[in-house]
């Protein structure tokens, strides 16, 4: 029987982006992460390159919000009360990078000063050798000042700064360009908006090779299907040649813990395992849709995502 593998011909490919810089490159990281590079739909290496393995980062918050999942707190133990120890633990668990969220700086919340937050950043940079993503609190006015300081403090480290939005991109773009950092272009589950933020950043002077796209990963059960389809559509457009959408995609899985089903007690099975599966399934759908950088919250999920990436990646099945 003549059976031929049906292949799609793609003209485009995803840009490769390097996060983190070693000593030779002007930074202090002991490892780097390169994401992107595929020229086929996710893991379909029979029609093109599957590119680099998707990278697994873990999130670290400089202050714990009240609704932070207790399951994850227990997994980390005491370390979770101090961002530096927390970050070290993540690396011990196998995280390839840290996503540091400086949420304490929100003047409407705790309003901890930017200096303290930057000290936390310096502490984490000193304690771990992996690349970093750094977010502010989402308070635009304060993030404008904060990101400038973050950029200085991380000079040469090739940080990934989060995140540029349609209403607030100039200050973060400046912070990124000033000291050789990368930047995340955030958009709200909409392919046109995803493209729009890339255009704004590009017109402002950011090299396309420095942009990672965040199309917003909604949680399982709370709009996941919208994110899933937008990522698939972005990836298809990129492979068909749309240069502006050829950025690697980052998905932050932490939203998964906010789904009401996760906080349902034991009516729906073991609540600890359910929370972990909730985040893992959110991550699995992001991987098969096209994500190349996952921000993971639970160490158990990190283990699962590591297995997923190892198995999905061609040649990795063993």
């Amino acid at each position: 029987m003549v059976f031929e593998i049906p292949k799609e011909k793609w003209s485009g490919s995803i840009r490769e982006i390097t996060l983190g810089a070693t000593k030779e490159e002007g930074g202090t990281r002991t490892s780097k992460v390169i994401i992107g590079g595929s020229s086929a739909l996710p893991y379909l290496n029979f029609e093109g390159s599957a590119g680099r393995k998707a990278a697994l980062f873990m999130d670290v918050l400089d202050t714990l919000p009240v609704d932070f999942p207790s399951v994850v707190k227990e997994e980390f133990g005491d370390a979770i009360n101090d961002p530096v120890s927390w970050a070290k633990k993540c690396v011990e668990f196998g995280a390839e990078g840290i996503c540091l969220k400086l949420v304490s700086t929100n003047p409407e919340g705790e309003g901890v000063g930017n200096e303290d937050a930057v000290n936390t950043l310096k502490g984490v940079l000193g304690a771990v050798g992996v690349p970093l993503i750094v977010y502010g609190s989402g308070h635009f006015d304060n993030d404008t000042k904060l990101m400038e300081m973050v950029s200085e403090a991380g000079k040469g480290e090739r940080l990934l700064l989060g995140s540029a939005e349609e209403d607030w991109y100039k200050s973060i773009a400046v912070a990124s360009m000033a000291n050789g950092h990368r930047v995340i272009g955030f958009s709200n589950i909409d392919i046109n908006l995803a493209k729009q933020i890339v255009i704004l950043l590009k017109d402002f002077g950011i090299d396309l090779n420095n942009i990672v796209m965040d199309p917003l990963q909604a949680a399982l059960g709370v709009g996941l299907e919208y994110s899933y389809s937008i990522i698939e559509r972005i990836r298809l457009a990129a492979l068909m040649g749309d240069n502006l959408l050829q950025a690697p995609i980052i998905c932050d899985l932490s939203l998964a813990w906010g789904a009401p089903d996760v906080n349902e007690g034991d009516r729906l099975g073991d609540p600890v395992k359910r929370g972990i599966e909730w985040e893992a399934d959110t991550g699995m759908s992001a991987l098969v849709a096209g994500a190349e950088l996952l921000v993971v919250r639970s160490p158990s999920v990190l283990r699962k995502m590591k297995q997923a990436v190892d198995e999905l990646y061609p040649g990795g099945d063993e």
Binding site: V222, G269, A280, S285, V288, Q307, E311
Partner: protein
């Protein structure tokens, strides 16, 4: 489905305009057929070649396969898309628990299969099927299969690697129309013979896709119309690639040997991850060796997400709902949107308060509170007009309404537009039980 146009159909007709089909001309008939207003059977004179060509082209790229007892059967296949955003995925992945016939807890597991039923945003999510796997003893297999059939009351899959073992159970349960598993390169003649005789659907297995195509054709040649494809347990990467190749071959190449639904095994890796992959990427049945609710419930939720029609978010009718028993004119009134997810979360939280309440659901075209507000589908004018239209001033004595904390910004304008008192509730409806108690005390 590759639909033919009237001209393509016309070319295959006798072109005698004899009128026996009830239409004046062959072309008129072709036009009706293209619009699916009549059936090919109405033309008595069409040649076999013409019929073959038309039926072949009109057949769906992936055959719909049914199994299970009449009235409670499940349907799989009949998919037409590679990506859900292009239209939608039609027949949700079936989740199946496998029970070995020598499992000490066979009866317990079979009876428990019914308990996997969850109501999520107005839809029932189930463990759809149960499979019994032969461990060797023919008599035991038949007996176990019968037991599971009566205890679980679900469509079944009978699993054995030789026809001799499966035959007794298959005959005994034929009226419950189980899916037979599986024809292999070694046993296919006997398995296909049995499936054809009993008119039961059959799983066809080969690890290698070339072999699978060949076997699918051979089994079909034996008279088995309903086939389910199986490439065996693999790691995640091979599963994704195989599932994609099978789906693409069927849909884009109309490669007939692969024009059937696919069964996915999870035993070679993390079952939760494989289940999620299967739901997202084209599996029609996923087999699980064990089914902790904490694993299965998230997968059921993913299935609900992925199989939602991308054009239509699940929506509720816009009206006032009574929650927690009959309400009266002094019951609190709350506002939310008609997005099913939002409605059911808010409803659940109000129920926890046990205070009989009225929930005003406004039409936001199925958008959540925040999304609707950002998209201007939830406006003070709209809400005020709806309050008026429903005549709520007649049925709500206190003339006040509790709105979600997320849209606190709307309170001023809503007071102005409606003349009602607006109370800003908690941002997350999980705060409602506590909030309502302080309100009513």
């Amino acid at each position: 489905m590759m639909a033919l146009n009237a001209m393509q159909i016309f070319m295959q007709l006798p072109k005698t305009n004899c009128g026996k089909c009830g239409f004046p001309t062959c072309l008129a008939f072709a036009m009706q057929l293209a619009n699916q207003k009549t059936s090919l059977d109405s033309c008595p004179d069409i040649s076999d070649a013409g019929r073959g060509a038309l039926e072949g082209a009109a057949a769906p790229p992936i055959k719909k396969v049914k199994f299970g007892p009449a009235g409670a059967e499940v349907e799989i296949g009949d998919e037409t898309e590679m990506f859900r955003h292009d239209k939608k995925f039609f027949h949700p992945t079936l989740l199946c628990q496998v029970i070995s016939d020598d499992d000490g807890d066979l009866e317990g597991k079979a009876s428990k299969a019914k308990d996997y039923e969850f109501d999520r945003i107005g839809q029932v999510m189930n463990l759809d099927t149960v499979a019994v796997r032969a461990s060797g003893d023919v008599g035991k297999f038949k007996e176990s299969a019968e037991k599971v059939n009566s205890l679980a009351g679900k469509p079944m899959i009978l699993m054995a690697d030789d026809a001799g073992t499966i035959e007794g159970a298959a005959r005994s349960l034929a009226s419950a129309r189980p899916l037979l598993y599986r024809a292999t390169q070694d046993n296919w003649e006997a398995m296909a013979g049995l499936a054809a005789e009993l008119k039961l659907p059959l799983v066809v297995y080969c690890e290698d896709l070339n072999g699978l195509a060949e076997l699918s054709d051979k089994v079909k040649g034996k008279g088995v119309g309903d086939i389910v494809l199986d490439f065996g347990p693999t790691k995640l990467g091979d599963a994704l690639r195989n599932l994609t190749i099978l789906r693409r071959s069927a849909i884009k190449k109309k490669f007939r040997p692969f024009g059937f639904p696919v069964l996915l095994e999870t035993s070679a890796t993390d079952p939760g991850l494989m289940g999620a992959l299967g739901v997202a990427k084209y599996a029609s049945i996923v087999l699980f060796e064990s089914v902790p609710v904490s694993t299965i419930y998230p997968i059921m939720t993913l299935r609900q997400n992925i199989y939602t029609d991308p054009q239509k978010p699940l929506q509720m009718e816009a009206k006032v709902y009574d929650i927690s028993g009959p309400t009266n004119e002094n019951s609190p009134l709350m506002l939310t949107t008609n997005f099913s997810l939002t409605y059911f979360i808010v409803r659940g939280d109000i129920e926890k308060s046990k205070i009989p309440s009225k929930l005003l659901v406004v039409d936001t075209e199925g958008l959540s509170v925040m999304t609707a507000f950002a998209a201007e589908k939830l406006t003070a004018e709209g809400v005020a007009a709806f309050i008026k239209k429903l005549g709520l001033e007649e049925s709500v004595a206190q003339k006040s309404i509790i709105i979600p904390g997320q849209i606190a910004r709307m309170s001023g304008s809503l007071e102005e537009e409606s003349g009602w008192k607006v109370i800003v509730g908690p941002r997350d409806s999980s705060g409602l039980p506590k909030f309502l108690k302080t309100q009513t005390s």
